[in-house]
Subunit: 451 residues, 2 copies
């Protein structure tokens, strides 16, 4: 047994009291809104069969899956030849299970396994960690939380509207004002691909558009031309993509194809949202939004902070075929995902966490003797039962040691019990910042903290 | 890519909406009380270095650890000889990480890694899943939650008292009345071991006492005699162990050794709890309680349901040396753990879950036309914003289909919007059980559900 100082695996983190409290604060607001909007919770196991996970995230994804060694004598069914064939081959012989890579594939698996019990439309949320054997870097971890909500089995545009309202409510609840919800529609991008002469190459076209932020418009045009786009039309399309005026945009797209499904959806979507204009939703149609994932087929979203340099903090979109990979066709839906770590970083940078959430205590009780301590037993329970976050220094150490502890844990108040206090049932409340002391009865203390 | 129907790995579970809601109900009550008693949350990663986990749970535990294959070409640093040496050897070459087996070792690791930042006494709680490659059976899973609270760096008896009050509060909050908290003290068991002539063999003696429930007193006596116990004294000790009268018990133990640390603690513990006699804590000193884990050195607890056939639903105790395995000596503490799955089973069997927690909706809005649906957009949001759990059928399907859906999801009420309702701004609320219908304005509906 090694006694060397233990370490954490690279790319993983402990969340101590302060960070945990802040993360819980965000998660609670998201969860509250998921429930408010009628989503039910689903939890799936961290461990999935590799047959469920493999082939769902592309070749790179397969490599980033964490694989779990079979239990017991896992080599018993292997041969020297298996070993000689190398890691990739041997894995198929010695590892049947892996760690969840995202929440979407497990959700699809759940829907397929429970298709006869589920009533559609089915609204589920899921807030759980996922694991990726990626190279760790700033803001990228090997274990991180996803917070997803999906509505499957309904193609109605109300779903798109509702999820937009949900974004708005979550960020309002978090006090995060500087953000914009960007939306686009894959069908419009597909139309533009066709327009510039890239019919059948819509997905590579979208992948190039997705790079606009990173490599700039000149380079994107170059790449689209290299795909085989018509120079004049590419230039037109790029002008269109950079348009920010909603009406002008819609008009231009309709000039290309009036009946385009994407533009119809977008019109209905904005019309529906007009009913909620009092909410001042920070919304923008942005044709340059493409989203990396290939399975989106309809409206797509991204939420970006506007006063902090950072990528998107939420994303999502409509997909045609969630469960086709598991042999169940025709289940379409729409989903969104909140990026907990990035939202955390934005909240931290903008100083949006309320002070009191990271302060576990309102008051620590300190005392001068065993008898005072014992008296404190009842007092601390009275305060706790009234909802005051109170604790009691547990042993009758020297008062100086107790006050040192109070300073270290940064309790805002101490309550001092000596013999006089005990007899009078009136205790000394000390403000640890100002040093001010005041005699108070239990009821008055409760009044102070809860009143 | 296989299109065969996906499955779950053995011993793992999906928690769908109903089960998730019930589990959240229990977890929320436990967490609320952890916070009420001044514990701060800690979260550690699922993935730990195997060097942290191995050797901490005995040989059997080491075998039950889930090991994760190293990423990439994990065989590149192995030889044919490594392969020939077999699974156990090869594991050390190809797997550096494993899944968390419990919450205690990661907590100890955290304390050692953060010893200079932590102020002692340190009260932490942790509610997270753990993984064991155990043979699955009824009530035993390979992935399950633990809910732990520990106080480290304090030897004061108030900690023992406080954790007892916490047990009591959690079960009160859950409405679970039929249970008993059994306590014992390892020092008393060690004293009895010495008394029967088994000095130096205290731990095997405790292991035998631990079997009383399962194999009965005759067999335990036989085993203790086989360990080398004195026949007459073993018989005396067994009588003492079966005594249930607290005063008599204490008196008998004091006859053997008046200054025994265990009996001193027990006296102080019960004296302190006398102050809380109004709480009617269901508490019992039970000398036959031994607890399996070898690291307990002081008071030990177990909570057992009394009206359901089941083992303990909580356990815990005081330990001398949490972090010694990581080279940091002298950190003692006391911890308790709530068994979520078993508490769930007891709650289910006694029908203690409130009905409304598994009902995600108060009311589903149904409608007769696109215009009615669009009117419903605002109504559903008004209801949600007032705290009513409302949802809207998202598309203008036939009303029959909408009511079918309402039946399937078991919504207690529907709110019907037709043209008349829309114009009058008074909607038809239908009780789905009785079929009763009633015209109501939005304010009245809010009043009904929230009033």
């Amino acid at each position: 047994m090694s006694k060397s100082k233990p370490t954490l695996p690279r790319g993983t983190r402990d969340f101590g009291p302060v960070v945990s409290a802040k993360r819980s604060y965000i998660i609670d607001k998201i969860k509250h809104n998921f429930i408010k909007y009628g989503f039910s919770q689903l939890e799936t196991p961290a461990i999935e069969n590799l047959s469920t996970l493999t082939g769902k995230y592309g070749d790179e994804g397969d490599q980033l899956l964490y694989k779990i060694l079979n239990s017991g004598d896992y080599l018993s069914k292997t041969s020297e030849e298996d070993f000689a064939l190398g890691s990739k081959h041997l894995t198929t012989k010695i590892a049947e299970k892996g760690l969840r890579y995202d929440l979407t594939v497990p959700f699809a698996r759940f829907v397929v396994m429970n298709q006869h019990e589920i009533s559609f439309p089915f609204k589920r949320f899921q807030i759980q960690p996922v694991w990726r054997a990626d190279r760790p870097q700033k803001g990228r971890y090997r274990e991180f939380y996803q917070c997803d909500a999906d509505i499957v089995g309904s193609k109605a545009i109300w779903n798109e509207v509702e999820l937009t309202l949900l974004f708005n409510d979550v960020f309002n609840d978090l006090g995060l004002e500087d953000y914009v919800i960007k939306v686009n529609h894959r069908e419009i991008l597909f139309l533009l691909a066709d327009y510039v002469g890239l019919k059948g190459r819509e997905v590579p076209f979208c992948a190039e558009i997705d790079k606009l932020d990173k490599i700039g418009s000149d380079k994107v045009i170059e790449n689209v031309l290299a795909l085989g786009g018509d120079a004049e039309k590419v230039s037109e399309a790029m002008n269109l993509i950079s348009t920010t005026d909603l009406d002008k945009l819609i008009e231009s797209v309709q000039k290309i194809d009036e009946s385009n499904a994407g533009v119809q959806d977008v019109i209905k979507y904005f019309e529906s949202l007009d009913q909620f204009s009092d909410k001042n939703i920070k919304l923008e149609l942005d044709l340059s939004l493409a989203r990396g994932l290939s399975y989106y087929t309809g409206m797509i979203y991204e939420v970006k902070p506007t006063s902090v340099q950072m990528g998107s903090i939420c994303g999502g979109g409509r997909y045609d075929n969630l469960t086709g990979v598991f042999g169940l066709e025709g289940i379409s839906g729409i989903g969104i995902s909140f990026g907990l770590d990035r939202i955390y970083d934005v909240m931290e940078e903008l100083n949006l966490f309320p002070d009191n959430i990271t302060q576990p205590l309102d008051v620590l009780i300190v005392h001068f003797s065993e008898a005072n301590l014992k008296h404190g037993h009842r007092i601390v329970m009275q305060l706790r039962e009234a909802g005051v976050r109170a604790d009691l220094y547990p042993s009758s150490d020297k008062i100086k040691k107790q006050f040192n502890y109070a300073d270290k844990i940064q309790t805002p108040f101490t309550l001092i019990i000596g013999d006089d206090e005990m007899n009078a049932e009136e205790y000394t409340l000390k403000n640890m910042q100002s040093g001010e002391q005041k005699p108070m009865k239990v009821d008055e203390i409760i009044q102070l903290f809860k009143g």
